[in-house]
Amino acid sequence: MSKKITIEPVTRVEGHGKVTIHLDDNNQVEQSRLHIVEFRGFERFVQGRPYWEAPVLVQRLCGICPVSHHLAAAKALDVIVGAGTGDGLTPTGDKMRRLMHYGQMFQSHVLHFFHLASPDLLFGIDGDPALRNVVGIAIKHKELAVQAVMMRKYGQEIIKATAGKKIHGTGAIPGGINKHLTQAEKDYLLNGDDPMNIDKMIDWSLGALEFFKGYHAQNKDLIDKFAAFPSSHVSLVRKDGAMDLYHGVLRGVDSEGNKVLNDVDYQDYLQYIDEEVKSWSYMKFPYLRSIGKKDGWYRVGPLARMNTCDFIPSPLAQKEFEIFQAYTNGKPNGMSMHMHWARLIEILHSAEMMKELLNDPDLMSGELTVTGTKGREGVGLLEAPRGTLFHHYRINNDDQIEMANLIVSTTNNNTPMNTAVNLAAKQFMNGQTEITEGMMNAVEVAIRAYDPCLSCATHALGKMPLEAIILDANGKELDRKLKNG
């Protein structure tokens, strides 16, 4: 007797989503889908707004990484106001934005790893759902919970110092930034009372990596085999191949490490990237045009960045990167759960970069903005916590937005997440007559590894919650289970 399983809402992810899994007569997974069920319509309703509103309007796609949208929009508008394509700002403008971005990367990765994903590791995929959450962490692993809370707070304080407020700030403007860092802010962030200072954050970042590596050694099967699959990987890298989360050229590698995007200028992204529309999800399916719809999909995010860059330009993170690379003998790493490992290396890198920037005198004085010859169209890309984020705007003679196109990080990961869901469903459900809560959570663990931001993904009108509906081969509903049963 065949069945359909629906998991709704998907929880401990940002935003709303739903999974459907069809099992055939022999209880084998026949089809699985991650649906993005909300649509908002940003591309259309920002039309007609003055272009300088874009960085504050469009960041309201997402309250988890608003800084990413804020800065990607500002970068696209830099091009429009004639301030260059990512390298034309004043040192102050460039570095303040970078500090804001590293603060964002730090807090978002911490939120994901500690608050949302770590309960699966600490309590087990099939652990007691009543405990398997951040409250359970606070009760059972208080010290870890305190670190999580304080690390996130630190990142948010960096954002407040650079953007004016913690959520939906206003720091970046076309052509630069609107404030300097003050001495008081600098002192607080560099040498605040324990634990609110940068050295403690670097310490704790190293500690989190040690924790993960210890867990990995004890749980190799889960971390190495769960939802692992080969794929291409795409991210920005600095011109010399270094990891750069704020600006660079687009690089793609295939599962063997061959370049499929050869450090190209992202202003021309339309030559390389296209998106497929499928009727069952509001989220589109991007792919590399050179490879085609079927096989051109790729992964973005922390794992992809480890696979594309040649080195990390900060010493402690570089050391960890070498260990990470050595694990797969320098070949691209396709293990979904290694996304957590990669994320922790980026937490460390962000902390190191924040320390370097906080000591930089350019943040405290110097010109804030530049202007140049105005154009009509601009593209802004950066590496958001979840991966490469594309913003593209065109304006008319009255300075109104005429066209807006967004490809958000999570959209880039659409096919990979569906692949991971399918693998997890097959691994845990094939041949099972009874579907348990733990099996359904396994599917969510696969999604969670990608840290999907379904809030962002639904910009087009949107929503992602987990309920499993079980249908027979004729589509008749046999059973419906909610995660908490």
């Binding site: 649509f39 259309r44 959520i167 589109k284």
Partner: protein, 183 residues
């Protein structure tokens, strides 16, 4: 006495209000002592397992699923608190109410989009698994009765904290001018 029970949800919002709730920082550990959590995106409780004392709602209603969840919250929570501009008046997503009919929004995203170059069949997502999109974005109070409104985009963490503690302890709310921002 048992702990007050809290449920939270994000409808057509951006999760920024939930993030602002997390911005109470260290006090989150006190909150965990003070209350019990039920249905919420931060845990794995997908449907209400008991009557709750306080329901916290972020975001307005842009589709049938939002309306369903909101009504479910009204039914299962004694007190409903909406947080942020989207829940209170539709917020940014409600910009489509003025100048962008839903059909145009869908066409812009899936048919006219510059990075959708090969949608020959002119597919616009439409599947029984996708909830119905509403004609416009509705604020929560147009759908159900709301007891408290906390403004801001996002409401400041101190505002959420002060209001929540007052509700949980039964004291009067202490909401000084400085913590209330309308942005």
């Amino acid at each position: 006495m048992s702990k007050p029970i809290i449920a939270t949800t994000s409808l057509a919002g951006c999760f920024g209000c939930h993030m602002s709730l997390l911005d109470i920082d260290e006090r989150i550990l006190d909150l965990i002592e003070l209350v019990e959590f039920n249905k919420s995106p931060i845990d794995d409780i997908k449907t209400f397992t008991k009557q709750c004392d306080i329901g916290i709602i972020e975001g307005g209603c842009c589709n049938s699923e939002n309306v369903h969840v909101l009504k479910d919250f009204r039914k299962n929570c004694k007190t409903l608190v909406v947080i942020g501009e989207c829940a209170i008046m539709g917020g940014l997503p409600a910009m489509r109410n003025n100048n962008a009919p839903i059909s145009e929004c869908l066409e812009e995203a899936y048919l006219n989009c510059v990075s959708v170059q090969a949608n020959e069949e002119k597919i616009i997502p439409n599947d029984e698994e996708l909830p119905m999109i509403l004609d416009r974005v509705y604020p929560c109070h147009e759908i159900v009765k709301i007891d408290y409104f906390l403004p801001g985009c996002a409401p400041r963490a101190d505002l959420i904290w002060n209001a929540l503690v007052a509700l949980v302890t039964g004291n009067e709310m202490d909401l000084p001018y400085e913590v209330i921002k309308f942005d």
